[in-house]
Every structure is written in C-alpha cells, then in structure tokens.
C-alpha cells in the first residue's frame, strides 16, 4: 500500500505499473482526478491527511479484496489539467477493484482534510452530493460482483 500527499506531480504510468506486478492481480481500477478549468491552491492538514487516507484505505480493505492500493493526493498550487489525485486499486477481480476505488474516492471527498481555493473565485464549497455519495456506502455495500 502506498499513500502519498505531495506537492510534486506524479507519473500515472509508473504508479500503475508498480501495483500490477503480482500474478494474483487480475484487475486494476484507476481513478485519476485533474484540475478543471481554473487554477487552484490546495490546502491540507499535514499531520492528519495521511492518517485519514490510511483509515479510508483500511476500511476499503475490510469491505473488499484489495491486494494493493496506491493513493496520491497533491497539494499546493495547481493549474488546469494538472493531476490532483490518483487512486489505483489492484484486486483479483474487477468487482472488488471498482467498488474499492469508488469507495476510497467518495470518502476522500468527505473525510480527508483538503480544501480547494480557486484563483479569482475563492474557497470551493463542499457539495451535498459528495456527502450523499459517501453516505450510500453505509451500511456496507452488499452483493458486489466478482468477475
């Protein structure tokens, strides 16, 4: 498991290559988020951020088969199209990989201490739809398909 909160850019290909080197892995689900339209600054709570992400990944691993997982989240000043976040989940089958990847993203949005400030527009308001997205995983999702 790799969790990194960093200012510098990351190499998507290299990160994905790193978690597929296991012959038990049959599926890798990847979410890559990037800055849309407006330059922004991402603030975070350094001592808390990694701890919060680790807790989210551990919860995902309790719910689904997660063989390996990489979460990278950037902070600092970012320009449109700059990558912000990467969640890559390796599992035997796609059902677990998709579900765990989506769960981790939904929880990142509502539980990890990051705040976006858009250039010329100010602080981004939290969306009720993000809370709803995280809320739908409670109680734990059942009947996730293998495949």
């Amino acid at each position: 498991m790799k969790i990194s909160v960093q200012q510098q850019a990351f190499d998507l290909t290299r990160e994905v290559e790193a978690i597929r080197k296991n012959d038990k892995v049959g599926a890798i689900a990847i979410f890559a988020g990037q800055v849309r339209e407006v330059a922004m600054t991402l603030e975070h709570y350094p001592q808390m951020t990694e701890k919060a992400i680790r807790g989210i990944v551990e919860e995902a691993s309790r719910r689904w088969q997660v063989m390996d997982c990489t979460v990278i989240h950037r902070h600092g000043e970012l320009q449109p199209t700059d990558p912000i976040v990467l969640v890559a989940v390796a599992s035997a089958h796609r059902g677990d990989a998709f579900a765990a990847c989506e769960f981790i993203m939904d929880y990142l949005k509502t539980q990890a201490p990051f705040w976006k400030k858009e250039a010329g527009r100010g602080w981004v308001e939290a969306k009720a739809s993000d809370d709803a997205a995280a809320e739908r995983w409670n109680p734990p999702a059942k009947g996730v398909k293998g495949g």
């Binding site: 201490p113 990051f114 705040w115």
Partner: protein
C-alpha cells in the same frame, strides 16, 4: 487545561490565525464547548464559528463529532467541510 487549537482554509483566513494555545475554563470538556468558548469572543470568532455555520472538527488529527471529549494537551482543529479529491 491547556489545548492547542488549529484553523484551516476559510476559517484560518477569517480569523487571521493558524494556531493558538488556549487555556480552557473548567468544565469545557467537549469540542462543541470549545467552539462555544471561542465563539463567545465575538468579532471574527463569533462570525466564523457561529452556530449556523458548518464547521467540522478534529481532535488529535481524527475527524470527530462535536460531542467528542477533549483533554489537556489535545490538538483541536476547526475547519470548513473538506473539498479535496
């Protein structure tokens, strides 16, 4: 008892402060009591920590409910709902 209070994002900007050491009056035992104590200062604090405002909190780097207890030496953080990802 002494605690450290930290502020982030719009809250940090409104208060013009990232962090402060605070001597809490006896009986201030929960996160919401700490918030009320700070709110009672009025001015920017009264505004930024007003009851109608959505303010999230953490104790020792764990996100908690307002009813969470606090003890001497804790690091309590107040911040707006998060917007990462």
């Amino acid at each position: 008892m002494k605690v450290t209070v930290r502020y982030f994002a719009s809250l940090r900007e409104s208060l013009g402060k990232e962090e402060e050491e605070l001597e809490l009056p006896p009986g201030t035992a929960t996160v919401s009591a700490v918030r009320a104590h700070l709110r009672a200062r009025g001015g920017a604090y009264g505004e930024a920590l007003a009851e109608k405002r959505l303010v999230r909190s953490a104790v020792n780097q764990d996100m908690v409910q307002a009813s969470a207890t606090v003890k001497a030496g804790d690091e309590i953080a107040f911040f707006p709902p998060v917007t990462g990802g």
